[in-house]
Amino acid sequence: MDRRTTIKWMFAAAATVPSLRFGIGSALAGDAAARDVAANQAGYGTDPDLVKEWKPGGPWPLTLTANARATTRALCDLIIPADDVSPAASAVGVVDFIDEWISAPYPQQRGDRPTVLNGLLWIEAESQKRFGQAFPALSDAQRAQIADDICSPAKSKAEFADAVKFFSKFRDLTAGGFYTTPVGMNDIGYRGNVPLTSFEGPPLEALKKAGLA
């Protein structure tokens, strides 16, 4: 990102933080992280082609700014990082998916949009406040310090209530985006969607584990 854009965006973000409210007044704040979704933006309709290839950005334009996408990438990889089994969330298209989700013209997604956009701005502002750097530039330990404050609805302090709601939503989107891909399905242990000539039922070891054999 070029420096001037970054600074402009950071200021916009910082300005919204003290009065962070998800819902009321959030559309204005959210606009700093994304272009508007057109009021008359159409969806895929009631008779979409089910056998063509669909990609984010196809049925409706993506709207996150480059900076917001960078924050999204860092945050979804914080939630689902690479490990011995599978790569990080961003490696399988989760950034594009989250952008598609918050840019969609349907009620559920329009409802999630201010939550996500304001949350991304909050993350950036909090990152600047604590460490003087953009969130994507932070060390793992620094990112964890922020995440630890907002990852648990039961344990987080009341002052972080809105950020906790954002994080829960963002975690659900990241997980949904990741575990629906072939890589994610393999990681989580889905072994189906394979054509079979006969169905033989569960293996003995599975029955034993469940106390059934």
Binding site: G58, A175, T181, I188, Y190
Partner: protein, 593 residues
């Protein structure tokens, strides 16, 4: 004969016009065409070709929004429904009350084959009690027939469409004759786990019954049983049965099936019916009304060609409404026919639905294996408390069955959502481990129960609202009785008991009936509105769906059902439609129509 335009249809003559192409329309047209009647089918939606349009094997990352439901595709992107859902653009319906508990929701599809393309394929027979509910407990209405009257048609439908299951001989849960059912699929871990623990609280579990080909149909044996003495029909059906594949134990049935391994009207009823040369189909044909001749009989119908907006009138010896229960009711009300009883629109029923989900620690970190199976209801629980209920011990009058599931399904958006109640809220490598641990450890339990017809559940024409064709729309009135509310509460309490027996935990407590019960219409088992009976003053049709007031007007969809047993109505609708069509054929043969 085949798919034709509205202008072609105007020039032809037909024995029977069938309005609708789903389970009822498909079965009616199939029986009539196979036995030699010339049939015109009118479908309000577009032509649909499962062989080329079905998203077989696609995973959710290939769909917009990872396949999540939207108002344009409420059951998810891959769901087979076209131009339908809870709302159809330009074709509204209204509710008389603003109270959500008194509103009704109506799922429609505008496509060839209607809702059969996406339905759950659960195919349960009504039992002997279900035909005489009033005799049994004094509530609702008896059917103008017995189980024995419909049993031969259950046999035929099961043999034609292909239904798996076993004969368990439980109370009011009929067996099929030998050689009718296909083998039930092997139970999943979740089935056997449910069975073991539900038994601790007295709940039985048996093989499910669904219209899925666990093996290929026996094309050498079945056609002669279905069409005795009709060599042409037997040959056509034998050839078509050989084009249906067995299930490949992958990809959800709700998308439809390009290899024709489950039942949908478009893959089972319509291809052989078209092969007879006796069936013409006009799609995009929105029927407005049944037209009356001077002698009081039905002349035919008026429909609007969706593509041109032009009105067409077609004529036949017999008119059959099979447009789905409430669409048929709407056509009757807009036609002003068959309603001397004043009962058209009355006694609408849905199925009672309530559910509870739980997480079961014993099922965490299960050894990985393919658990797709046939995508649903390998096993289920039929109603098991008939004696207690009849003795008045339950506080509600009718029963429910339990559908349940668990294990590792094709991942969708919710696959690792909302785990906070289990893990407190994690991220990073711990979150990935949690996702692996919990996936497949959830059990869902849901009840499907009988609703008793009542005076407060009915449809009428809205006095002002019309659809985009200028046709008046339905306005719904709805109110559950204490029986349905009591039943819904009993469901959730039972599910909690079963989850407790499994050592499971659930994120919320069982609720009171009015909180537990799904909104009217939401289970999409709406029936009634033109009920059958023995008295022309109290019902709209006789047991053949033949209107008392108009002898050549038949209704073969769920509108004629005068009770709605917990058995899911589609198989019964098809059996009734076959029986009605046989009756039409004999009346035409005897020149009575």
């Amino acid at each position: 004969m085949s798919f034709i335009s509205s202008t072609q249809a105007d020039k032809n003559t037909y024995d029977v016009i069938v309005v609708g192409s789903g389970a009822a329309g498909g079965q009616t047209a199939y029986t009539l065409a196979m036995e030699g009647a010339r049939v015109l089918m009118l479908e309000a939606g577009r032509k649909y070709e499962p062989a080329t349009e079905t998203p077989m094997m696609q995973v959710n990352s290939q769909a917009p929004l990872r396949g999540a439901g939207t108002p344009e595709k409420p059951f998810g992107f891959w769901d087979a429904t076209i131009d339908g859902g809870w709302d159809v653009p330009g074709e509204p319906y209204t509710s008389a009350s603003d109270d959500p508990e008194r509103q009704f929701r109506w799922w429609r599809a505008r496509m060839l084959g209607g809702r059969t393309n996406h339905w759950g394929r659960i195919s349960l027979r009504n039992g002997p009690y279900d035909f005489k509910p009033h005799t049994r407990d004094g509530l609702g209405f008896d059917w103008p027939m017995n189980y024995q009257d419909l049993a031969p048609y259950y046999d035929k439908v099961e043999m034609l469409i292909g239904v798996y299951g076993e004969n368990d001989g439980l109370e009011n849960t009929p067996n099929s004759p030998d050689g009718v059912l296909l083998p039930a699929p092997k139970p999943l871990v979740s089935d056997l786990f449910f069975k073991k623990h539900a038994a601790k609280v007295g709940v039985p579990t048996i093989a499910g019954h669904r219209a899925v080909l666990t093996t290929r149909l026996d094309h050498k044996r079945l056609p002669a049983l279905l069409h005795p003495g009709n060599a042409k029909a037997q040959a056509i059906l034998a050839a078509d049965m050989q084009k249906r594949s067995a299930c490949i134990f992958a990809t959800p049935c709700g998308r439809g099936c390009s290899i024709r391994a489950n039942y949908q009207s478009t893959t089972v009823h319509l291809p052989p019916a078209l092969d007879t040369g006796n069936l013409d189909i006009v799609t995009d044909a929105m029927v407005r009304s049944v037209n009356r001749r001077k002698d009081g009989k039905a002349e035919g119908v008026t429909y609007i060609d969706r593509k041109t907006g032009a009105e067409h009138r077609v004529k036949a010896r017999i008119v059959v409404l099979a447009a789905s229960a409430l669409e048929s009711v709407r056509i009757l009300l807009n036609s002003g026919v068959a309603n001397s009883s004043g009962k058209v629109g009355k006694y609408i029923m849905d199925t009672v639905g309530a559910g509870l989900n739980g997480q079961v620690p014993l099922l965490e970190n299960m050894p990985l294996h393919n658990e797709d199976g046939v995508d649903g209801l390998h096993m289920y629980t039929p109603w098991w408390l008939y004696k207690e209920q009849l003795a008045g011990k339950l506080g509600f009058a009718r029963g429910y069955h339990i559908e349940f599931g668990g294990g590792r399904d094709l991942p969708g958006m919710g696959i690792a959502s909302g785990l906070e109640w289990l893990n407190g809220g994690t991220y990073g490598k711990q979150f990935k481990e949690d996702a692996r641990r919990y996936y497949g450890s959830f059990m869902w339990l849901t009840g499907r129960g009988e609703m008793i017809p009542n005076e407060n559940c009915y449809a009428e024409l809205d006095p002002t609202v019309k659809d985009k064709f200028g046709i008046p729309v339905l306005r719904f009135h709805w109110k559950w009785s204490e029986h349905e509310l009591g039943q819904a509460a009993h469901m959730e309490k039972t599910f909690a008991d079963i989850l407790d027996a499994m050592g499971g935990r659930y994120s919320r407590k069982p609720q009171a009936g009015n909180k537990a019960i799904k909104q009217g219409g939401v289970i999409i088992h709406e029936v009634g509105g033109a009920i059958m009976g023995t008295d022309s003053k109290k019902s709209v049709t006789n047991s053949f769906g033949q209107c008392w007031d108009m002898k050549n007007l038949f209704i073969t969809d769920g509108a004629t059902l005068c009770s709605n047993a917990d058995k899911n109505p589609t198989l019964t609708i098809m059996a009734l439609a076959w029986r009605s069509a046989d009756h039409m054929l004999s009346l035409m043969k005897r020149k009575e129509l």
